[in-house]
Structure formats: structure tokens, C-alpha cells
Symmetry: C2
Subunit: 383 residues, 2 copies
């Protein structure tokens, strides 16, 4: 079954419901992809991911390229067999990590040179090489190498990043095309719209990439420190510049309320380390908001992390126990917190798909905020 996207319903709010099809299975959208940076969603097994209802996961090209190396993964039969995950996988291009993690990097039209954050070795990646690395890794959805401008960013820099992103997108397509069937399944390439917060640059970037006819589009360069209002304004404007019949992926977003807002603006696909990274630090998301379970306040609290949640962790363990695990430095703490928080995210997306199908997203969103305290106003945990 070739890669496809079917737009199934549009809520009066503009929120969309659709279906991505891949050779590793379907992904109902809007969807959240748990992040498995190094070929593992930290602390969770592949079976855990199935259990909590993950459809597609994201892994990081930069990390896998450096360790264990894409050739090793290819020899192991690809990322799915390597990590025991049967569903679809999306890999980013590594561009963002090169700029944010590598010790030193030099970017030019040809590509990007950087020193590994692991051992200081020097590497040079071109757009073509980045596609080939992802083909070796074996992801279902590959991302083109792009230049993600930092925030704030002057117009000249943002414009150069747009030009280079289009140049690299063109070269990526020229190298292997937008759809590659290798082994037993098809892999597709998504373009990434840049342009910082400049509406005309976003428009130019979108126009140039849409002309290249990618099977899907990401909105990059957001969630890099700009005010939230700018994130959503730019995401909404950019989404409107993209073809309605292609999936729209807002990279690196976000907190639960950010995802609700972006869904309202016509976004289909998300990834973010927020639920997993927070969980490992003893902070989980619940239907009432953020809960810092490692706090002493929960030492004798017999309630589950989220009394509204039906996940295995909430059906089995108390806040008191999970707080004890964090307090005692036990690995099971981060594991249980991660399991719950990802379940919460995936369940939230599933709920949104339902209400979009039923045309009552705006109403649902009001109800969501009545229960949920956004970041900044931590839920005090009382049941």
C-alpha cells in the first residue's frame, strides 16, 4: 500500500481529521509521535508503545547516524526490526541537532560540517547524504535537510535559510525522488517550510516547496524560543499555504495545550520531547494539568497520577509509590511516569479526533480548558 493521506473531516473550527497510510500501518490524524531519539522511546519497550496506542514514532537521524551508525541498523534489517517496533517511523533530518547539539558546525550551500558531541570527530552532511542515511535507517517518512534559523533572527539570515532550504529540498528530490521503495516498503520524503516569523518568507518557502510536490510538509523553525502567540499565528498562516490534501506536521510542539491550539489551526502531526523529558524528571501531565509527582506533597497520596486516566500505571500505582520511586532514585519511576504521560498525550489526540469527526471541537476545547490548567499554573493534585 503506497503512502497516502486522506482528509476525512474538517471541523467548523478548522481542525482536521485524516488518515496517513504507510506500509507499516495507518496513522489517524491529528497524531502525536513519541520521540525515540536513539532508537528507543526512553524507558519504554516497543510493546509498551503499542499498548498506549502509539501509531507512529519519531527517531533522530543525527543520533542514529553517530551511534550505532546507519549501516549497522540497515544490516539489522532496518529501524523497525532493530527496535522491535512494527508501526511506521518518521526520522528527522538531523539538521536541527547539528545546529543545537554538535560542538561546532559550519553551514554552507553544499551542506553542513560539524563535530560529533560524542567524540569530537568531524562529519560533513549534504542533503543527498541525509536522504541516504535515512534510507539506511529505514524510516517510512524521511525529512529533507533544512536550515532552521534561530530565534530571534534578522530578515537577511531568515531569507538565506529559506533559500538554502529550497535548494536542499530540490537536491534531495533530485537524488532519490519523493517516494522510494526499497526492501519491502515505501519510504517518502517530506519538505520543511522555514521563514522564521516573517510572513512573506513563510509564503515564499511554502510556495517553493509546494511547487516541488512533496507527499507531506512540515512547518519548521518554530518552538525555538519565540512567544507562543507568534508560534500559533505563524503555524496557522503557514498551514493555510499548504495543500489541504497533504499532511501538515508541526515540528517540536509541544505542551498539551499547544497541541490543542495547533490542531485548532489545521495541523495534523506532532512530535515533542516534553512528555517524556518531563516524566523522567518526575513531572507528569494529567487531565487537570501538570503534576510534579516527585514533590513531598504526594508522599502519602493514595490517588493515581490522574484519577481520570485508565492507563496501566493509573490502574496499578499510587502517587505515593511513584513519588517514593523518584525519591529513591529508582528507574521504575521515570518508566511509569513516561508511560502515563505518553498515554495521556495519545489519549488526548484520540479524543480530539473523535470530537473533530463529530464537529464539536470548539465546544470540547472549552471543556478541556475548564479542567486543564495550562503550564504556569500547576495543578495542586487534589482529587
Amino acid at each position: 500500500m503506497p503512502f497516502g493521506f486522506t482528509l476525512r473531516s474538517i471541523d467548523p473550527s478548522g481542525a482536521r481529521c485524516g488518515l496517513i497510510e504507510t506500509d507499516h500501518g495507518p496513522v489517524e490524524t491529528p497524531a502525536f509521535m513519541p520521540v525515540g531519539t536513539q532508537g528507543t522511546v526512553k524507558t519504554l519497550s516497543a510493546r509498551d508503545l503499542e499498548e498506549i496506542g502509539a501509531a507512529m514514532i519519531l527517531s533522530n537521524t543525527y543520533h542514529l547516524y553517530l551511534r550505532p551508525g546507519e549501516k549497522l541498523i540497515e544490516e539489522a534489517g532496518g529501524i523497525h526490526r532493530f527496535m522491535g517496533w512494527k508501526g511506521p517511523v518518521l526520522t528527522d533530518s538531523g539538521g536541527f541537532q547539528v545546529l543545537s547539539l554538535a560542538d561546532l558546525n559550519r553551514i554552507g550551500d553544499e551542506g553542513v560540517e560539524f563535530k560529533s558531541h560524542l567524540d569530537g570527530s568531524t562529519h560533513f552532511l549534504t542533503p543527498e547524504r541525509v536522504v541516504d542515511i535515512q534510507l539506511s535507517i529505514g524510516s517510512d517518512v524521511m525529512m529533507v535537510l533544512d536550515e532552521c534559523a534561530e530565534y530571534p533572527c534578522d530578515r537577511g539570515r531568515a531569507e538565506k535559510a529559506v533559500e538554502r532550504t529550497t535548494l536542499w529540498a530540490t537536491r534531495s528530490l533530485a537524488a532519490r525522488g519523493a517516494r522510494v521503495t526499497r526492501g519491502e516498503y515505501e519510504r517518502v520524503l517530506f519538505g520543511i517550510v522555514q521563514g522564521s516569523l516573517y510572513p512573506d518568507l513563510r509564503e515564499r518557502s511554502a510556495r517553493e516547496l509546494v511547487a516541488l510536490d512533496f507527499p507531506g510538509y512540515a512547518i519548521g523553525g518554530l518552538s525555538v524560543g519565540e512567544p507562543k502567540k507568534d508560534t500559533f499565528d505563524t503555524a496557522a498562516r503557514t498551514a493555510n499555504l499548504l495543500p489541504a490534501d497533504k499532511p501538515r506536521y508541526l515540528m517540536g510542539v509541544g505542551h498539551p495545550e499547544d497541541i490543542v491550539e495547533a490542531v485548532a489551526r489545521g495541523i495534523d502531526l506532532f512530535d515533542c520531547v516534553v512528555p517524556t523529558r518531563n516524566a523522567r524528571n518526575g513531572c507528569v501531565f494529567t487531565s487537570r494539568g501538570k503534576l510534579v509527582v516527585r514533590n513531598a506533597a504526594y508522599a502519602r497520596d493514595g490517588a493515581p497520577l490522574d484519577p481520570e486516566c485508565r492507563c496501566e500505571v493509573c490502574r496499578t500505582y499510587s502517587r505515593a509509590y511513584i513519588r517514593h520511586l523518584f525519591n529513591a532514585g529508582e528507574i521504575l519511576g521515570p518508566r511509569l511516569a513516561t508511560y502515563h504521560s505518553l498515554y495521556f498525550y495519545l489519549h488526548l489526540l484520540s479524543e480530539m479526533r473523535q470530537v473533530i469527526r463529530e464537529g464539536r471541537f470548539s465546544r470540547w476545547r472549552e471543556g478541556f480548558y475548564r479542567a486543564y490548567s495550562p503550564i504556569g499554573s500547576e495543578y495542586n493534585g487534589s482529587v
Copy 2:
């Protein structure tokens, strides 16, 4: 159903097969108890433990007393509800940890004073208090406070430890009796035989404790640095001094081959951190012996940890993947290794019960050693 032990069959070798019954379920013996020091078998969930076939687990009174405190566990409904584990739990007395972990300790006939390794606070534990702490924790099987002599140990010291162990066992029984029903289930108290490597002191200790008629007996003071031959000679001699109709628990033993040897000498119950602690360091046990999966030699090895093993980890993941997880510092590495190694131990015990019932333990033991390379001769991993 009151605590009980039924001896079901004795193999010509002397290996025994039996059944411990508790209000939290049965334990077929010989049995291995995974160690959940701080109320969690490190990295594993309660459901994992059920899946791999754990019947009874051990938790540490010393650790739980210091953190989160036995009263907190009691308020949470006891250790079973606290950690989500439905099967029986045995707690040690904490005596061994006081002597090995606490920063400073002073032992006298009245009890033991020590400073917490966590915060330096001073504590004083008596035999009576240790029983009460375990009653609050809510374990099914409690251990008396004993004095575990170090190795090597002169005769005078060993004799004093035997005398004090009997004195404390007597006081423990006087305080609450050997069987206490509290809440909805019965808890029983086991005695611990000491005597270092001195046959006459072991005999005296066993005689004095057997006279007190405990529902079960542990053999303590072994696996503390003495030669293996002494461990097994002393275990075998001591086992013979204990009533045949009571379970015999050899504390802190051991490697797979140690357990095979101890089973051959009539031991029924085991606990040890060896499988779990090794697993967290990237070293697992397999039907061929120890395998250090974190070694670079396994970087491209597509075989499961143990090709003979049918556990979830061996059915899903390769050595190459698990090696990558350890190499990348991923928590899933210790988790998968722990799951496999405990499965291996529990499966080994299950296999031994089977061959004991069929009267062919000695034959089986020969076959075990043909495949298995004991510690010191690491299995090279080739399939």
C-alpha cells in the same frame, strides 16, 4: 489459608520439591525470589514480575524502614498494595544491611545502633522492633533480627553471634509469636541459623532455633566471602540439621550454578542480587553461561540474548540492539537485561522442580553443565 509447607518429592540426589502456601498465593519450591530492595525489583513493573513467573519476591526492611518508612507503607495498605504486587513477599530483618551499609553501628545484646547511610541519622533497632517494622511493611514472611558474622571470623566472635542470634530469636517469638494474623492475612516469622564455618556452632545454632519451632528456617552467614566449597559444605550440613517438613532458605545465593548446587543439597528458597545487579551492568545469564552484552563483540549480533530462551525480550530484541542501548546509556538496556536474566533464573528453577519431581535431577545437572559455562569462563556468545 494459613502458612504451610508441604514436601512433595525428594530426588535420589537429595534435591527437594515442595509447596509453600501463603494468603497471597502458593510458591513452588525450590524457588528464587527476585530482590526488590526499595519496594521495586529495579527497572521492572509488578506486571513484568508476574509475566516472568516470579512467585515470591524479597524486599529489604532496612531500606524500607529508612525510606519511605514502614508507617507510610502501612498507611498505603501494606507492601503488596504499595508496589502493585499481588504475590507473597518476604522481608529480611535488615540486620545484614545495618552491618554492611550503615555508616557506623554498635551491636549489643539489646539491639543494634546505626547511622543511616542516607542522612546520617541515628537509629536503634531491637529484635522486637524489627518484627513490628515488618508487620507494618506487611510481608508474608518476616525474618528475625540476627547477627551475621563476617568472614573470616574467629571462633569466639562466631560463638557470640550464635548466642545473640538465639537470644534475639527467642525475644522475637516472645514479642508477637511465630504466626501473626493482621489485616486480611497471616504473616510468619523465620529463624536464621548462624555459626560461620564452624560445624559445631552451626549445629548448636540449628538445635537452639529448631527447639523454638519456627515455620521456616534460613541459613545465614554464608556467601560473605568464604570459598565456594565451604559455602556448599556448610549449607549441606546445616540443611541436614533442619526439620524436613520446614522450608530451608539459603540467604544471598547466588549464581545459577550456585543455586543448582544448593538445590542438590536440599535447599528450597533463594534470593540474590546477582541476576539484577549484573543485568544493570550489561551482563546477562544464559543457558550457556554469562554473556556481557555490552561488549563491542555483540554490536552486530542479530541473535537474541539467549537463543534457547522464550522470554519476551529474547523473542523481540537482538543482542545488537541491547548492546546499543547500553552503549548509548539508555534505561531500556538495564530493563531488558533484567527482564531476561530474571526470566532465566525463574525458568531454571522451574526446570529443576520438574526434574526433581521426575527423579532425574542428577542427570539433568550433568546436562546443565555440558551447556553452561560457570562464572570465570565467559560464554563467547556464538550461537
